[in-house]
């Protein structure tokens, strides 16, 4: 199975993965920042994040400052939604678990012939991408900028 096939599998299951992740976030008593958010507000940038991760897996590209635009957008939105940094980190941790569990399911299913090396490479990109977002989030939340509303 190629990295493209792994990315295609994840992309075709984005709806289910988001559903699993949403449930995990809502049920986690340690996350409180989500309480006042509607479901669309909670989901917000996560589908775009998954699509960007899939694109990186497809291109076998290492996530970094220049190719994680959606991760940075998510930090921006969460910061303005009044999230705490620790809740965002926990939320991203749950997203990581959701994705790595799915990767394991793909591997255990056996029908798509995912090798250990291929799973490891895709897992590495997932981890590095989410670490990149956490790195950015920590930088922002530790020195919080001024909250500004755009003027129309």
């Amino acid at each position: 199975m190629s990295q493209t096939a792994i990315a295609d599998q994840i992309e075709s299951h984005i709806g289910h993965l988001i559903e699993d992740w949403t449930t995990a976030v809502r049920e986690d008593p340690r996350i409180q920042s989500d309480e006042n958010l509607t479901k669309p507000e909670l989901i917000d940038h996560v589908p775009a994040i998954l699509e960007e991760i899939c694109e990186l897996i497809r291109k076998r590209e290492i996530p970094g400052v220049r190719n994680s635009l959606e991760a940075r957008a998510n930090v921006y939105v969460r910061f303005h939604q009044g999230y705490t940094g620790r809740d965002l980190v926990r939320e991203l941790s749950l997203l990581r678990i959701t994705l790595l569990d799915y990767l394991m399911d793909l591997s255990l299913g056996g029908t798509i012939g995912l090798s250990f090396e291929e799973r490891h490479e895709a897992g590495k990109i997932i981890n590095l991408y989410l670490d990149e977002e956490m790195r950015y989030a920590i930088s922002v939340f530790c020195n919080p900028p001024t909250l500004v509303q755009a003027e129309q």
Binding site: P40, E41, D44, H45, P47, A48, V65, R66, L69, E70, R72, A73, N74, V75, Y76, V77, F79, H80, R135, Y136, S139, V140, N143, P145, T146, V148, Q149, A150, E151, Q152
Partner: protein
Amino acid sequence: MISQVDFDKFVKDYNDDYLLLLKRASIRHYDCLISAFMVLKDLYKVIQVMFDTGHYTYKVLPYPFSFRADEVLLGQLGFDQQEIQSIFGFLDHVKTTQGMEFEACLEAGTVAMCARVR
């Protein structure tokens, strides 16, 4: 190395320009908007790379470059429903005129400069 004051100015310039481009999209003024976003994306990346060095802090967060399918973000930026639909309409416009998604267009670089009548 540039000063924190200069860095703040970069961020302010980026934010002003970003909002201006979105405002243009929100009134369906799509002409040459792709090339404008292309230039702005480079500035956004420079800001992010500089911030990542740890030498600078944000007085104000730069607006995220990505706005695809993000009503929450566009709402936060002060756009109403009709304007948001016009902004999303720009993404459709890019696909129709350039034959590729907006993001792919930005990656393609100068090939996609300014829509041509075909």
